[in-house]
């Protein structure tokens, strides 16, 4: 394939006078793991929603394998969305369905696989995230960390080409954080999807990212390999990855 998988060009977005994105430029090449870091409330989730066509940019464009997504409608947009898997920040599990049904849901709705095959596939996924015996519970009955893992499994059921992870590890214990990271790496190696991962886990993400991009004040201030970011001389990036309360970024 020629050109980047995802290309974000000069995207602006405001909500009622509040400018959230002010000219984001970012490219994601096929097969890489790109990690987006940035302050809480900085617009990372908003950016991910633009990639799904859940929000439309006020200005700028988003190209996915060469197609401008805000121009797509109906069937074409659906086909594009089917190539994506999303782990929403809050999990967004269907709370009227059990854990198992949540994972099986995309298969039931989008494929004509026989019930046997669906069961098997959903169970395999649940096993991979370590929740094989939790299938019968409802999302409200499992812990926050388990919900994140169910969301992860659900996002991967349809074997997407691009997976968006919105803070898949926030709020988990350190062992679970590493387990999830390992799981993502493992699946990435096997399935070969392109991953865009929003995360606050510094320094862990430097171990899994191919590239890291820092979003600050509605724009990407720096993007590069983990080594380059760690060695960055940009004071904003430096302050963010060291967590220094003194510096150009002021806690508000």
């Amino acid at each position: 394939m020629s050109g980047p998988m995802v290309e974000i060009r000069n995207v602006h977005k405001s909500f009622g006078g509040q400018q959230v994105l002010r000219g984001v430029d970012l490219q994601v090449t096929q097969g890489e793991i790109l990690v987006i870091i940035g302050r809480s409330g900085g617009g990372k989730s908003v950016l991910l929603k633009h990639l799904m066509g859940l929000l439309k940019p006020d200005q700028g464009e988003i190209m996915i394998s060469g197609q401008e997504i805000s121009r797509l409608r109906g069937r074409e947009l659906d086909q594009l969305r089917e190539r994506f898997g999303v782990v929403f920040q809050g999990g967004a599990l269907f709370d009227s369905l059990t854990v198992f049904e949540n994972v099986a849901f995309p298969l039931r709705e989008k494929t004509r696989l026989p019930e046997e095959a669906i069961r098997e596939k959903a169970l395999t996924l649940l096993k991979q995230v370590g929740l094989a015996d939790m299938g019968h519970k409802y999302p409200a009955e499992v812990s926050g960390g388990m919900r994140k893992r169910v969301a992860l499994a659900r996002a991967l059921t349809m074997e997407p080409e691009v997976v968006l992870f919105d803070e898949p590890t926030t709020g988990l214990d350190p062992i679970m954080v590493n387990a999830i990271h390992r799981l993502i790496l493992d699946l990435h190696r096997r399935v070969g999807f392109t991953a865009i991962l929003v995360s606050h886990e510094i320094p862990e993400i430097f171990g899994i990212a191919d590239r890291v991009a820092m979003l600050h004040r509605g724009a990407v201030v720096e993007a590069g390999t983990p080594e380059a970011i760690q060695a960055s001389t940009n004071p904003v990036v430096r302050q963010f990855i060291t967590g220094d309360p003194e510096g150009p970024i002021q806690p508000d």
């Binding site: 799904m52 859940l54 089917e82 967004a92 269907f94 709370d95 989008k110």
Partner: protein
Amino acid sequence: MRILRLLGEWVLTSLRGGGRMMIFLGTALFWIFLPPLKWRRMIARIHFIGAKSLVVILLTGAFTGMVLGLQVFYTLTKFGSEAFLGPAVALSLIRELGPVLCALMVTGRAGSALTAEIGIMRITEQIDALTAMALNPMRYLIVPTILAGLIAFPLLTAIFDLVGIYGGYLVGVKLLGIGEGTYFGEMETYVDLWDITQGILKSLSFGLLVTWVCCYKGFYAGYGAEGVSRATTEAVVLSSVLILVWDYFVGSVLL
């Protein structure tokens, strides 16, 4: 000047809100006619709106009928025409009170819960998750609910009417001593098919109205628990007001 501006702003926001509601209804109706229909979800919704409202409907229906029996009897004795208690009770129930009271009760019982449920799905991004899976939330959430309303409301209204007529019978015949034959016999003479059709038409339109308003308010709920609670209140108030307003217009057109 300030008052004028505020007034202008208010008119504009209401117009915009009304427009969005119409578009929402239009989209929902469009998807109703586009198969496949999600049968299982629709049946779950009928259970949610209908079966779970049964107790409330039985209770309110019975007491409405009994109150009618008492009051109408009292009024009719003034004209010396107690014999017409049967048709008087039946006609008020079938043409007016059945559909309206039933719709109001179901709004309170199921409509508020519908708005809350859909609102929570909105704020916890479950609706976005459906969209992101390329599954249309209209098809999955709204269409089954509206169809369930169209099925459940007339049935509940019919139950309300029947129980109410029986309640009127208990008071009129067993308590106040009207002849059983008179109560039901006069009813057969004076209640014709058009009255029943009118009642069914009304309850159908209320079914559409209530599910439309409640789905809409939930679908566009604001953020957080506060957004959902506001949406729920608005849904109940708006549904109730629209039921009574619409009832008047339908009544004056159909009469």
